[in-house]
């Protein structure tokens, strides 16, 4: 039993590695076509700097980028696991971010309480906003793909309205970014620079966002929820076979609502690392697009927390390379090409490997049964 599983895992990993290598090869062709050398590009991507401080900064950047991507991937995965396509992560996290940033700026409490409250508000807003498409789906049968796409646009506009209107904060003279009021310092999430110091590295510039801890925690919780609880089982069952789930007493409406709301609540966290760790306010140049990237990350990670973490780190690593590539005079958009081809090739590889491993499983089952039935026949004779 264990070897079979191990084999499945190894096969998957091998497929992923081949896919990444293929994607690198394809991108190399593009780089060559652009008149640059793929070797230089690779060197640039892996060049984290000469000094320890630079290496630390690079690592911190990758992690800081990976954290929101990881959370976004988790949010997407919850829905995708039961074939619920929450394309609306984008709107949910934006709205959650602005409301949480504003609410958090309105009071001062001891750090842990203040931060917890902000996080709760963010999850609440994200979850409530995701409730809209969920309710529309279960009561009116509205396809969630469209409704969430529409709600994304609505969220962008709502956020723009709020940040210029009721939620606007004071600005220094000469600042053109509109933003919510600054969070009090008690709401600033402490950074994790001590981790680097523990390894004898200098602290990274910009700091390693402390929200990493929350992300890991959320990842573990989501893993436990999806893999070990009854709710997770029901999500999985609904995804694998909706009509069997229904006949087994899983209430599909309740599942749609709870999965969507959970997905939205997690989505609410996506903006938090940035707001609590860096900007301390929601501003008009808030990082957008993480919701869509989250879809790619979730798919790359096969909708499983560990896979999503790896995918998020890979994306973070690639995104960091944007600057070094430019130093090497290579168009940075190569990264987008690498990301796109990796996603496509990895899912193709997944498809092939899972088909192969199912074949193997069937064959093994048949082989084993054959030997047992032969044995029985011999005993009978």
């Amino acid at each position: 039993m264990m070897p079979a599983r191990l084999q499945r895992t190894l096969l998957t990993l091998a497929g992923a590695v081949v896919a990444v290598l293929l994607a690198v090869a394809i991108s190399s062709i593009a780089i060559l076509a652009a008149g640059a050398s793929p070797i230089t590009a690779l060197e640039a991507m892996f060049d984290f700097g000469d000094t320890q401080a630079q290496v630390a900064t690079a690592v911190a950047f990758i992690l800081n980028r990976a954290v929101p991507l990881f959370i976004a991937g988790l949010a997407v995965a919850i829905g995708f696991r039961m074939n619920l396509f929450n394309i609306g992560i984008e709107g949910q996290y934006r709205l959650a971010a602005i409301v949480a940033a504003f609410v958090g700026s309105q009071f001062v409490l001891p750090g842990p309480i203040q931060i917890t409250l902000i996080i709760v508000v963010a999850m609440l807003v994200g979850g409530l906003y995701a409730l809209i498409p969920a309710v529309l789906k279960v009561t009116r049968g509205v396809n969630e793909v469209i409704s969430t796409i529409m709600l994304n646009y609505i969220a962008i506009n709502l956020a723009a309205f709020l940040v210029r209107g009721p939620f606007t904060g004071e600005r220094e003279a000469g600042q053109l970014t509109t933003s919510t009021p600054q969070l009090p310092e008690s709401a600033w999430f402490p950074n994790l620079n001590f981790l680097f110091e523990m390894f004898g590295l200098p602290a990274p510039r910009g700091g390693l966002w402390g929200f990493l801890i929350v992300a890991i925690l959320v990842g573990v919780i989501i893993w436990v929820v999806l893999e070990r609880t009854r709710f997770g089982f029901e999500v999985k069952a609904s995804g694998l076979n909706a009509s069997a789930a229904l006949a087994s007493g899983v209430n599909p409406k309740r599942m749609v609502i709870s999965a969507m709301v959970l997905s939205g609540a997690i989505a609410g966290l996506i903006g938090m690392p940035e707001i609590l760790g860096r900007t301390h306010a929601y501003g008009s140049n808030f990082t957008a697009g993480l919701g869509f990237l989250g879809i790619a990350v979730a798919l790359l990670g096969r909708n499983k927390p560990v896979g999503i973490a790896v995918a998020a780190l890979l994306f973070g690593f690639l995104d960091r390379a944007a600057a070094p590539l430019q130093f090497a005079d290579i168009p940075p958009s190569v990264i987008a090409i690498i990301q796109g081809t990796i996603v496509l090739l990895v899912v193709i590889a997944n498809e092939i490997t899972s088909r192969v491993s199912m074949r193997q499983e069937e064959r093994r089952a048949a082989r084993q049964l054959d030997t047992t039935s032969q044995a029985q026949a011999e005993v009978a004779a």
Binding site: T229, R230, K236, N241, A247, G249, A366, T372
Partner: protein, 516 residues
């Protein structure tokens, strides 16, 4: 010159299969099969589930390619790559499962792939004329402009045959065409087949129903475990002999021994009506009790409300009127989950659709439907250890042939999948069990085992509602039989008194309603 019988003998067989071998990963579906089908005859092929009949026919129809062997059609070697090649060679196939696009019209389904064109367009008028003509000559009446979605099974079967005739096929393959038909419909079909035969068409006919086979076939080939084991003359063989050839051993029968019926009503269905909009009710005033230790059988042609009845009891359909009482509780408004928790077990009619998570391991399939109960659950958690242990128990007790409980459900054969489901639904001491087609598509050995389990549970006081298309099974297992027709219970019969023919009469509405 030669006599007419000489000419007949000289004519090459319509189809000749020689040494056909086909391997699937882990299975040899066909092994050195040899069959010769004479033109203008009905040639039956019989064999157990999984014997390889469908595979062989798919090979003949170009849907699958043989690993070894030769196919000759009218004496000429052929090599079919796709069904189009086979169609071009005059072969048509009606599949075991309907191959119809529900949201296309009958006409569209029939002409698909062989569309008549006029000026680049689909010539619907021409097609309609041709279909009506075919329908007229062969007595296969269907309305070409209806959506297939709205048709009953009998009509669908006719559409399937029309599809084949429309292509001008001279060789017809019918893979279990009678599985979903009632006796009267079967007779109609056979009349059609005889007519086709008279017109010189060749029919290859597959069925599990041996008396049917004996009544229609001119020649019979028996397949066992992928190889041809006998070619017999229907005139010189009995159904029982044929069956023993198929199985290679003695036959089990689904007979219930002494009655275990008590007078404690476990499930009471009262005046259940389901009506959607202004249409004809799907179920109308259906009432019956099921007592502890009793098997209540429901006979009926598919599509007469059985599915709705099951779904109503499972809480998957809301009632327009009526009540369902389980023991002391009125469960009419309960959720499916609560019903299951209260002790209703459910062997669904389509195990792949409603019974299994094919891509999950067996032990997770054990949890399905029991996710809120011991031993599968512990608080908010799934109790993995206990579930696995209980799966081991089911595998042992119900003789589920599997390498391990971590095997994915899709790797099991249909019979073993079904045994797992039966084992699961019997665990947790249910009070009441819905068994919908519990042995459909299951081979003889597994069938006997499942019947045994049902009987044992019945003796232990389980109340069972049995829905089946297999009339022998219904008559053999039930303590009491109801016939459902057009959403209404039209007869209550004593299984020890009734014959399958009578039952068929009620099921088709041929015998008028009887007061019980």
């Amino acid at each position: 010159m030669s006599t007419s019988s000489d000419t007949l003998a000289a004519a090459p067989p319509a189809v000749e299969l020689e040494g056909i071998t086909k391997r699937f990963p882990g299975v040899v579906a066909n092994h050195d099969i040899r069959i010769a089908v004479e033109p203008g005859t009905v040639h039956a092929i019989v064999g157990e589930n999984g014997a390889g009949k469908s595979t062989l026919m798919k090979i003949l129809y170009g849907m699958q390619r043989p690993d070894e062997g030769r196919i000759r059609v009218h004496g000429e070697d052929v090599n079919f790559r796709t069904p189009s090649d086979a169609i071009a060679a005059g072969i048509g196939m009606v599949h075991q499962h309907f191959m119809l696009a529900d949201y296309l019209t009958v006409l569209e389904n029939i002409v698909l792939g062989a569309e008549p064109r006029k000026g680049g367009l689909l010539d619907t008028a021409g097609a309609r004329k041709r279909i009506n003509q075919l329908a007229e000559t062969h007595g296969l009446r269907v309305d070409p402009d209806r959506l297939v979605e709205d048709l009953g099974v009998g009509d669908r079967q006719r559409v399937e045959i029309l599809k084949v005739l429309y292509r001008g096929a001279r060789i017809l393959i019918l893979d279990e065409p009678t599985a979903v038909l009632v006796p009267q419909e079967v007779d109609e079909l056979f009349a059609n087949l005889r007519e086709l035969k008279a017109e010189g068409l060749t029919v290859i006919f597959i069925s599990h129903k041996l008396d049917e086979v004996l009544s229609i076939a001119d020649a019979i080939t028996v397949i066992r475990r992928g190889t041809t084991v006998a070619a017999v003359d229907p005139a010189s063989v009995t159904a029982r002999q044929l069956a023993e050839l198929m199985v290679g051993s003695e036959l089990p029968t689904p007979e219930t021994r002494e009655s275990t019926v008590t007078d404690r009503v476990v499930l009471d269905v009262r005046d259940v009506t389901i009506q959607r909009g202004a249409a004809k009710p799907l179920l109308e005033d259906v009432s019956f009790p099921v007592r502890a230790g009793e098997v209540v059988g429901i006979a009926g042609v598919e599509g007469n409300g059985q599915s709705e009845l099951i779904e109503a009891i499972m809480g998957l359909q809301t009632l327009s009127r009526g009540r369902i009482v389980l023991g002391e509780d009125d469960i009419t408004t309960w959720s499916t989950l609560r019903r299951r928790e209260a002790g209703i077990g459910y062997i669904p009619e389509d195990r792949h659709r409603q019974g299994l998570l094919l891509e999950a391991p067996l032990w997770e399939n054990r949890v399905l439907g029991h996710q809120t109960r011991e031993p599968a659950r512990k608080g908010i958690w799934v109790n993995r250890a206990a579930s696995r242990k209980d799966t081991e128990r089911i595998v042992a007790e119900y003789d589920v042939r599997t390498p391990s409980i971590d095997t994915l459900a899709l790797a099991l054969s249909g019979g073993n999948q079904q045994k797992l489901i039966v084992g699961r639904e019997m665990s947790g001491e249910p009070k009441f069990l819905i068994a919908a087609h519990p042995t459909r598509g299951v081979d003889v050995g597994a069938q006997a085992a499942i019947w045994d389990h049902l009987r044992t549970a019945r003796a232990a006081g389980l109340a069972v509602l049995l829905i089946s298309a297999d009339l022998d099974e219904l008559i053999g297992l039930s303590d009491c039989l109801h016939v459902i027709y057009s959403g209404r219970m039209v007869a209550r019969l004593d299984p020890s008194q009734v014959t399958p023919e009578q039952l068929g009469g009620y099921m088709t509405g041929a015998i008028a309603e009887e007061q019980s």
